[in-house]
Symmetry: C2
Subunit: 423 residues, 2 copies
């Protein structure tokens, strides 16, 4: 008996008709012989509407109470889906995150899953029920208060549940067909990726691909839960995210690059003229860390204004820009740097692929393509399976397209560049 | 430290502004030195809207799921009220019925409270919080599923909580000023009752007065929780419902009658020509009982069609009328009665008062007043403190007004009839 966890987002259950459509799909899965657990988001814009209501009674809603309020949305859609499935003749039961055993930290609005103890769900499945779980929520291990899980929550809950229930795989239903080799809005010739390894998807998500949240992919990789990302509006297969060892490539070979990701959400700060003394750089990054700001890429160069000093540049989320500037200005005298530059007109472009591990030509091919497209590189950062560059914001599209073509990912291209061919 | 439970209904929290108004009132109560627990209904028409949504996905919504859905309404308003109070600078926490320890039977849509174990509420109060409890809901003792409590639920929950927390009293906030000596829409000269005994309020509620639910008053009497029924739109005192021994009447005397209630919700069934054999009446009422129909008043007379037979009449809720007729027609041959009559154009009018216990003139005064008002009595039923009559539906108003005047309850009347004066 296969066991599957299916997750449906808000746009898939925007109204009563959509809920009934999802019910039919879920029932079909059950009738095909699977145990089914569904994780569901709130209908359409419900969460935003509840947030509005909260702001009407309090400009800074108490966090515990905001979680009590917002979780009503998922509760409602879970109950409605269970009703719709029952109406089709099957048995279905809905559960809140708490009832489903989703145990979390206590940070309201951004709790993390500590553990899942799905006893009640297991019993319901044993009784032959289809189980619906309200997404986005859990219960705090310490206070027993209801918590909401922050960004990417329902996807992560679905994968975490799949792991806890030893499901065979997890299906994430969304409003696009799957993961693409690049954003189709920038690169019309981008193709849907049939299969991608966990670590590649992790890099894609970390570098700006919005289709699956980083936290969700981390969980999938850690627990080895294959994830099928597909459209809720069709029956076409989507993209399978799996263990590298389970991928079936053409002719047992891997394409050098799986995809190109881009991220417009970062800004760059340059601390100009930092005295070349031990501990100065540490002081700068300690201050940034103390303000709970995540730093992405870092570059240190001889300063262009005074060669006995250094310039230190780093990128960070734009939303943390102001906070970082204020924190650094506060330590300016102590550290003794000369200036602070802020540039939010940047973008990060990354090529990702396990194939590059053993093939050193990727960097050269990438940089050549960018040069030919007249794109200037400001910063570079790499991992075993990813190369990222920071470019001007208005050169992002050109950079993505150039890399996509250079690695043969364009749809009309006959020759996808394979690792084995040496091209 | 006084402890009070306050209940606010849907019309008191119809929108964000109303919620803020309730928050100010609750905070005022706290600042006057009381421990405060608030039981709150869903905002405005939320419950109806959720019901509509349910019917859109399923014409006969699965009961367990309907309870999961509907309870979202109270959860939302409880969280919003807690936010609004926090915004005013106090600490407040909301709890679902389950979190508040409201343990119930398992009947979805009409569960009854078995017990209340308010441990978490008690702790929150000890920490100085204002506590908000979502009304209308609890958790099933057997299945641990969420349940909704049926009619009069939030009022009953408030009183039950007050009992479990040993509160000093319970305040039920509503959209009228209090309990009146008769329905002011029928009797413009009706007056607000300052104090009324539990057993009198019980009779008023059982006989049609809609201001407090029967179940709620029963709980209050059983646990001796004084209930203050008042308006959420003003600060005027309302009606106190208390133990008889705690009432302070003028000159230590009781008015003969506290009030006049009426009920248009009943119908009358007459089983005509029942053979005068042992067991026939029993068969009739057993059949009615087997169909879970509550019978109110019963009269048995010599049949007008055949003096060797009897006619048995009884009243029941109109909503059960069809079911009762069908059940009785099914046993017609077995019992051997001659006809079934159904009359839904009746009304029940009752005078209620502890004073009548020791004063036999009340019945005479009541019947004289009705006769003078040209109102025909069809059926009569009494308890120690109540006399009820069934009259034509279109004579109800006249009957209520006549009784109200006859017992000196009219506002402009100088002489309320007191037990001690012998009038």
């Amino acid at each position: 008996m296969t066991r599957v966890v299916q997750k449906f987002g808000g746009s898939s259950v925007a109204d009563a008709e959509s809920i009934k459509r999802v019910a039919r799909r879920v029932l079909r899965t059950k009738q095909e012989g699977h145990d089914v657990v569904v994780v569901i988001s709130a209908m359409g814009d419900t969460t935003d509407e509840l947030m509005d209501l909260a702001l009407q009674v309090s400009p800074q809603p108490a966090p515990r109470e905001l979680d009590m309020l917002l979780t009503s949305g998922e509760r409602m859609s879970a109950a409605l889906l269970a009703m719709a499935i029952a109406d089709l003749g099957a048995t279905a039961r809905s559960f809140t995150g708490s009832q489903a055993g989703v145990i979390t930290t206590g940070t309201h609005g951004n709790a993390r899953i500590i553990d899942i103890t799905p006893g009640r769900i297991q019993s319901a499945l044993d009784e032959g029920d289809i189980v619906i779980v309200a997404g986005f929520q859990g219960v705090s291990q310490d206070t027993k208060d209801i918590t909401t899980l922050g960004r990417g929550a329902s996807d992560t809950t679905a994968v975490a549940l799949a792991a806890a229930l030893r499901a065979d795989f997890c299906e994430i239903y969304t409003d696009v067909d799957g993961v693409y080799t690049a954003d189709p809005r920038i690169v019309p010739s981008a193709r849907q990726i049939p299969e991608i390894a966990y670590e590649e998807m992790l890099e894609m998500a970390a570098c700006g691909a919005k289709i699956l949240h980083l936290r969700c992919v981390e969980y999938a990789r850690r627990e080895d839960v294959p994830v099928h990302v597909r459209s809720s509006f069709s029956d076409k297969p989507g993209t399978w995210v799996k263990d590298l060892a389970d991928l079936k490539g053409p002719l047992m070979e891997q394409a050098l690059i799986s995809g190109v990701a881009h991220d417009r959400g970062e800004a760059k700060i340059t601390v100009v003229g930092v005295p070349d003394k031990i501990g100065e750089a540490a002081a700068i990054f300690q201050t940034v860390a103390d303000n709970e700001i995540n730093v992405d890429m870092i570059v240190q160069n001889v300063s262009h204004v005074d060669t006995s000093r250094t310039d230190i540049s780093f990128t960070l989320p734009k939303t943390d820009g102001r906070k970082a500037i204020q924190a650094l200005e506060a330590i300016k005298d102590r550290v003794g740097f000369q200036d602070l530059l802020y540039n939010d007109q940047i973008g990060k472009v990354s090529v990702v692929g396990v194939g590059m591990r053993s093939h050193p030509g990727v960097t050269a091919r990438f940089f050549s393509a960018l040069a030919e497209a007249d794109v200037n590189l400001e910063m570079i950062s790499t991992s075993e399976i990813r190369i990222s560059v920071v470019v001007d914001a208005d050169r992002v599209d050109a950079a993505v397209a150039a890399a996509h073509t250079a690695f043969g990912l364009d749809a009309e291209s006959e020759a996808v560049v394979y690792a084995g061919t040496g091209r």
